[in-house]
């Protein structure tokens, strides 16, 4: 905490903290959750966003599901927003879109850094203004996390491609936004393999009541979305598609649920690029899967002795499960 304090003192105006950590390991997940709790206690007025790395479905750490549920449940209590990066998704982006043959963690981390940069690099504060947004973190939280029960945010961005392919491509805002919108609706993690059959439910029809998770959730309902556009002619981009009330829950009107940030300045090597930060059902399935696997393992009591050795009891596990089942149910019923 002393180190953090020194850094805080150097700031003119602290808007908040980014805590970058993984969920599967021990230090990142456990100590990360602990630090977040401490930040909550000591800097209760500052915002905290945790960037968490969702582990690969298989083969990183055997007890990753336990570590993940313990981390998520603790973070849900002390963090303001959880921005999730999924290893599996980023890996596929490297393989399919970037055409990298032997993918290393450096490659994966570069894609992640690109995603973060496309969101948090400066943007103009208003249409036509030349002043930069003062508090991107604060505005992002304000826009995207209207209710403390719903804290899980996902990122999608286009385009993503290798240098070689870039030379042969041109982009239009209309094309980019159409793809991005369909990625949102069909819960696609990248620009390839988008399911164009998925459509928003017709407005006027009542939203379905309790949707059981066994049914494939085709349509991804959003609570709030933020689109960030960077590049030439950004003022000509038409975002009508994102303002359709059918995309959102009934308790937030699109004018509040949808926001856009723009800047003329291109990002990285892309003449035009768009990023989407979404509080929606993006993470419902991964969360449900992790909770299910952890529950199965917990039922057989495997590895529990390793945790009780250090002070985490079975009740702590049960508390975590309860909290996360609640989150799953809430997102399910949007």
């Amino acid at each position: 905490m002393n180190l953090i304090q020194k850094e805080v003192e150097k700031c003119d105006c602290l808007s908040g903290f980014f805590i970058i950590m993984s969920m599967a390991g021990g230090t990142g997940s456990g100590l990360g959750a602990f630090v977040t709790q401490n930040l909550q206690d000591h800097y209760s007025n500052s915002l905290k966003m945790n960037q968490i790395i969702w582990p690969y479905g298989t083969g990183e750490v055997i007890v990753q599901n336990y570590n993940s549920i313990l981390t998520l449940s603790h973070l849900y209590r002390s963090s303001d927003a959880l921005l999730v990066h999924e290893n599996d998704a980023v890996h596929k982006i490297c393989a399919k879109l970037m055409n990298i043959k032997q993918i290393s963690f450096t490659d994966i981390n570069q894609v992640l850094a690109h995603q973060l940069g496309s969101v948090f690099q400066p943007t103009y504060s208003m249409e036509g203004s030349y002043h930069y947004r003062r508090n991107p973190l604060g505005e992002l939280m304000e826009n995207l996390v209207p209710h403390p029960e719903f804290k899980m945010l996902g990122i999608r961005n286009i385009p993503q491609m290798s240098e070689n392919s870039l030379a042969y491509s041109t982009f239009t805002w209309a094309g980019l936004l159409k793809h991005l919108r369909q990625m949102l609706i069909s819960n696609s993690k990248m620009e390839e393999g988008i399911d164009w059959q998925v459509r928003p439910p017709l407005s006027g029809l009542p939203t379905l009541g309790k949707v059981s998770l066994n049914r494939e959730l085709h349509f991804n309902t959003s609570i709030a979305n933020l689109v960030i556009l960077r590049g030439k002619d950004v003022h000509s981009a038409d975002l009508g598609g994102f303002k359709d009330p059918a995309l959102y829950t009934s308790w937030l009107a699109p004018v509040n649920a949808f926001n856009v940030w723009k800047t003329q300045r291109a990002f990285s090597k892309y003449e035009k690029s768009a990023a989407l930060v979404s509080n929606s059902q993006f993470l419902l399935k991964p969360l449900d899967t992790i909770v299910g696997k952890a529950w199965n393992m917990f039922a057989s009591k495997a590895y529990i002795h390793q945790y009780t050795k250090f002070g985490i009891e079975e009740e702590d596990f049960l508390d975590s499960f309860t909290l996360l089942e609640q989150v799953v149910a809430s997102y399910c019923n949007l």
């Binding site: 055997i62 890996h91 290393s104 529950w295 199965n296 002795h305 499960f321």
Partner: protein
């Protein structure tokens, strides 16, 4: 970085230990070109200024002055340790790190455990404490011994209790050489079963190895080397059995080649903790991920590749072959067939120029042919270390917590019962103070409990996988 102390007990333990230190020095010499004492070396070696008399003289940074192994050598007969001290490695060991006696334990677990245990307890404690004091952050004790003899088996396991009491937070990794079918020690079943009880209760992790498997691996290598089938020659130094720079057909000492395999195992196990990599795995992670229940801590290990061909380009096919080989029963260091038994957990520790995508591709490829227990369908733990072993461009160590250890234990129990029913050789044990028939009965029952646990897990194989009902919450 953390340090580990190696405790080698008995003839077998010390001979393996000798090979281990030789290999460790060679590995660090290959990696550390500048001769600076760095954190990687400090995990197994101390840097000592030999001009200083007495205990001082530990140098923590700067150029390497004189390296001393973090080891304690224990043997109840002098032959082996004396040979080490007269050989090329004599400067690596501190004379204060040895405990020896004259006559040995006579292949009798009771002599090793009860008689010498009591006699040398204070000395052992003192040497262990000394070696621990030399460490900034001691993480693990590696105990190397055999199960069939007297000293390694008896005194080696006596040590475990001492370590558990004195250093409860330090991990105890035990490399145990189990007796093969045709073993030269008649009482080895007794010694092994009595030792097993101690391993069950006091070890954190056991890596069982048996001589027959090591011998089979050597035969396989020799066949490949001598057959001339290979178009190109095998790279010297790359044999997992090689102890000196050159390719030898005749091994210098018997057991040398086999001991080198075990030495390689220990080095690969600790590589991720010593060298850098994109996905590190420390020793405590091994225990955490591979031991789902405290008693089931027996890990079957396999090392690949056994040799590297001299051509430099390694197509992906060869890399994939390395992964496939790790699961074949010919590469396991104990007689076991993990592919046809049930996996509780599996760790893949990769060294060298391998990326995460290669790892994932191979896991996906091999997963369908392996059976994992229902609650751990994705029970893989992986690590990537960038520094390959000497002579290779990449290598893989697979550690499996698998029910295939069960046959070894059952066979051991059978051999024990055959002797015990006739009360053969029992009087040698019972005449030692502190030994009674109940010791034998307890040991067998401890082993039987273990076997039963494995049986129960195996029984779940045929049961359909059911997802248990989850907690339901009111919305």
């Amino acid at each position: 970085m953390t340090q580990s102390v190696v405790v080698q007990v008995g003839q077998c333990g010390n001979q393996i230990g000798c090979c281990f230190w030789d290999l460790a020095l060679r590995e660090h010499a290959a990696v550390n070109q500048k001769g600076i004492y760095d954190e990687a070396i400090s995990s197994f070696f101390r840097n000592v200024d030999t001009r200083v008399v007495g205990d001082g003289g530990n140098i923590s940074k700067g150029k390497i002055c004189s390296l001393k192994a973090r080891a304690v050598l224990i043997d109840m007969e002098e032959g082996v340790v004396n040979e080490i001290l007269q050989g090329p490695l004599r400067d690596v060991f501190d004379s204060k790190q040895l405990i020896t006696d004259i006559s040995g334990s006579g292949n009798n677990w009771a002599v090793g455990h009860k008689v010498f245990g009591r006699l040398y307890q204070e000395q052992i404690l003192e040497k262990l404490r000394k070696s621990a004091e030399h460490c900034d952050c001691l993480q693990c004790f590696f105990i190397i011994h055999s199960m069939g003899g007297g000293t390694g088996s008896g005194l080696g396991t006596f040590l475990l209790k001492v370590l558990e009491d004195e250093f409860p937070e330090v991990y105890r990794f035990v490399t145990s050489i189990y007796p093969s079918g045709e073993d030269d020690v008649i009482t080895s079943p007794y010694n092994s079963i009595l030792a097993m009880k101690e391993l069950n209760e006091h070890a954190d992790c056991v890596l069982p190895i048996d001589n027959q498997s090591l011998f089979d691996i050597i035969s396989k290598i020799d066949l490949m080397v001598n057959s001339g089938k290979l178009g190109t020659a095998i790279k010297p130094k790359s044999l997992v059995t090689s102890s000196a720079g050159a390719l030898k057909k005749q091994h210098q000492k018997p057991f040398d080649a086999m001991n080198n395999i075990v030495a390689n195992l220990l080095l690969n196990l600790t590589s991720s903790a010593r060298f850098e990599g994109s996905l590190n795995m420390d020793l405590n992670e091994i225990s955490m991920n591979l031991v789902p229940f405290p008693q089931l801590h027996y890990l079957v290990s396999s090392l690949t590749p056994l040799y590297t061909l001299a051509d430099v380009n390694i197509p992906t096919r060869r890399l994939d072959q390395m992964f496939s080989d790790a699961f074949s029963k010919d590469h396991q260091l104990i007689r076991a067939d993990p592919k046809h038994s049930l996996y509780l957990a599996c760790a893949l520790m990769v060294r060298g120029n391998v990326q995460v995508s290669d790892l994932r591709r191979n896991i996906e490829r091999l997963k369908p042919s392996l059976q994992f227990i229902s609650w751990n369908q994705e029970g893989w733990k992986t690590s990537l270390c960038s520094v390959p072993p000497v002579g290779h461009s990449h290598s893989l160590l697979a550690l499996a917590n698998n029910t295939c250890v069960k046959p070894t234990f059952m066979e051991l129990r059978e051999r024990f019962m055959r002797l015990y029913k006739k009360k053969a050789h029992l009087h040698h044990y019972l005449q030692i103070e502190g030994m009674e028939e109940s010791c034998f009965m307890e040991a067998v029952s401890s082993l039987s409990t273990l076997i039963e646990e494995y049986n129960q897990l195996d029984a779940t194989r045929s049961m359909p996988v059911e997802d248990l009902p989850r907690l339901s919450v009111a919305v």
